[in-house]
Each structure stands twice: as structure tokens, then as C-alpha cells.
Symmetry: C2
Subunit: 198 residues, 2 copies
Amino acid sequence: MYIDTDILFTWGAIAKRYQKDEIIFSENENAKFYYQITEGNVKMFCANDEGREFIQGEFCIGSSFGDPPLIINSQYPATAIALNNCVILKLSKEKFLTILDEYTEINNSFMFDLALRVYKKSITNKYIINQKPIYRITSFLENYKKEQNTSHQERLLIPHTRQDIADFTGLRVETVIRTLAQMSKDDLVAIINHKLYY
Amino acid sequence: MYIDTDILFTWGAIAKRYQKDEIIFSENENAKFYYQITEGNVKMFCANDEGREFIQGEFCIGSSFGDPPLIINSQYPATAIALNNCVILKLSKEKFLTILDEYTEINNSFMFDLALRVYKKSITNKYIINQKPIYRITSFLENYKKEQNTSHQERLLIPHTRQDIADFTGLRVETVIRTLAQMSKDDLVAIINHKLYY
DNA sequence: CGGTTCCTTGAGGATGATCAACGAGGGTGG
DNA sequence: CCACCCTCGTTGATCATCCTCAAGGAACCG
């Protein structure tokens, strides 16, 4: 989701800097602000009982995050931290809801965005829920590729560590490595100099 | 999601009967109608490569289903079939989108509904991704319980077969049975006469 | 260089899936 | 009312595979 920054500022948004690794909001905290990235990258994740991390999503410049709880007036289902030095626009929940009321365009594109997310999660679930590691990883890669609107001519560099992929898919690092090695043999991915291409 | 039936009829909705096991729409089909249940139950599921079934959701009287693809103008991610004899209101996509434009109230509640679904899937994912069957099953039970707004005084009968639970959680029937047996010992669920309570 | 962080490999163990039977309950028709 | 069938639940044995633990190597950066 993206809202024109002029509009955000008009309604009183503030740009705030976050250091690398700084927490933007925490799991179970009440949702009070609309956040939109001007600079940097943000990761949303939850830690489970065994201290293991599950990545809900990563967001980059121009994209908002943590909006659903604003709409349903609830807590954040995950923690958001800055992956590097970030500049993030913050707007109060009330103002954000007002914007949705005032601008039909924004309301529509927000609706579109939410519907898309439900849709994508349905697709992802299908592969993630059951299935062998290769399906989970492929689903992750496919999803990443779709988000970058590249020409599908060439293979795309995946800028994620093996650990990241493990945390996205709920697998262990070693399993990811071994599965990727096999996929490389089968020419489903390419691994050049330890870098992963899909 | 629920839209007042008077409004639906005013805009040209048609009530249609479906026999038990009849397919309402299929995976990968273009979304063309808004569907709202007047009578009966509907299951949405996808079949994976090995012919195994994964249940995306079950819906009952008063609830709509398959709406996100309408908004984003795409295909259905799953197949919908009637679990019993159903009466379902059908409204064309165009009319449905017009209703969203015309009625602010409905637009807002639809937005709420979508946000809630994203939120719930985030929560569910956190548990589902976790390997252990007990977490997956607990997540399913918790979710079911939340959907019924019962007083949390007593244990709730879960009207699903073991196979259903397996298809919801991506586990195998035998695993579900064994895990439930253990949970029963630990008093996390009750099993009386083969019936499951949570 | 020296320290991090990330990647890789191997061996062993835990656990969910698979396969094969059988049991239990509910409904139907004779 | 009983016999039958069909679906659902249950159990045990075996297998496959992912996780765990441990160790070491490669790349990157100050």
C-alpha cells in the first residue's frame, strides 16, 4: 500500500529516523499509527515459544506495513524492526482512517491491497502448509519474483540469506541449504559463488 | 462478510440451489460473481499435486465466500463445493462493485472483513509453520472457537471429522488422532464418545 | 589480517507419514 | 428388529525425512 507523501504530510505525518535493528512496534502492542517507508527496509516477524523466528514479511521503500490491525482496532500480530537505517512516515490512526474516508481513490487501492494479500496468503498456504521443503522454498522464490516486476528473461538474484529463507518457510538452515543444492543440480535455481538466483 | 439480502435482491441477485457435493466454482476459474449463503454450508479447498486436499475455509449461513478475487480481478485460488443442499445468492461482479461504491457502510464493513482475514492468517501462519502437530491443531481449534461467539464457560463441540482437521492443518489423519489422544490426556481437549470438545 | 556473519557437510536421532488392519457408529432396506 | 454397508475412528509396525548437534570453511568488512 502506498499513499502520496504530500497527502500524508498535509494530514500531519511526521518523518522519523530508525537505526538498524531498532524496533518500530512490538507484537501484541495496540496499533496506533500508519507507517510508510521513505528510506530503508523493514522486517515483520514473530518469535515462537522455542525462540524461533518466523518472518511474516519484508517491506521496502514506498510501502506501508502493519495496516490491518489499524482497521480492525487490534494488536500487532508481529514485531517490526528496521533492517538498516530507515526513514519512516508516521501518521496517527485517526487521521489515517479519515484519509480513507475522504479519498475514494485511496480507499479503493487500499481495498485492492488487502484483497491481494488475502489472495496471496491463500496461494502461499497451499504450498506451505503441507509439503516438502522444495515446495515451500519454490513458493517463497516464486512469491519474491512476482513482487519484483522484472522481465522474466534472466534469473533473478535473491537477496536473502539461507537463514532468511529458513525463517520465511519454517525450515531449518541446513535443510534449506541441502534442498537448494539439490534444486541447483536439477537446474531449478542457480548458485554462483554462494549467491542464489531464481 | 454479509450484505443485507434486500439490497442484494434490489441489485439483481438470484437465489440458486446447489445439491450436496455440487461444485460452485473451480480453482483457476475467473471470478465473476459475489456469492452469499442463504442456506447450507460451503467448503473451499485446493487439491495439491499428490491429490491431497487442503481446506482453505468453510462457510455457513449468512456468510459470503470467494470475494477477494472479485476485487483484484483474478482467478479463484481454490474450489468451492456444497457440503449439503444449499441456497446461495449470486450477484454479478459489476453489480457487487457498484454496491461497494454506493454504500459507504458496506464498503467499510467489507474493508474490515478483509483486514480481519489478513490478520487471522498472520496469526494462523505463525502456528501452522511450526512443525509440531499440537500447535497446528490448537491453532485450528482456537480459530474455530473464536468464530463461534459462545460463552467460554463450557467446552465446545467441534463438528469436524478427524479427516477435516487433517485437511485443515496439513497433517495426516493418524497423526491428528494420536495428537488429540495425547491432548486429551493432558486435558487440553475432551473426547467423549469419539466426539471432540475444546 | 582478525573478527563476523554466512554457508556447508556429516552423523545420528526424533517424529510424522505410510501401510495395513480392525473397530465403532449410524443409517437403510429387507 | 436385524443385517448390511459405509463412513469414521483407532492402533501398531515400519519407513523416510527433516531436525539437531557439531565442526569447519568461505566471504566480507573494518
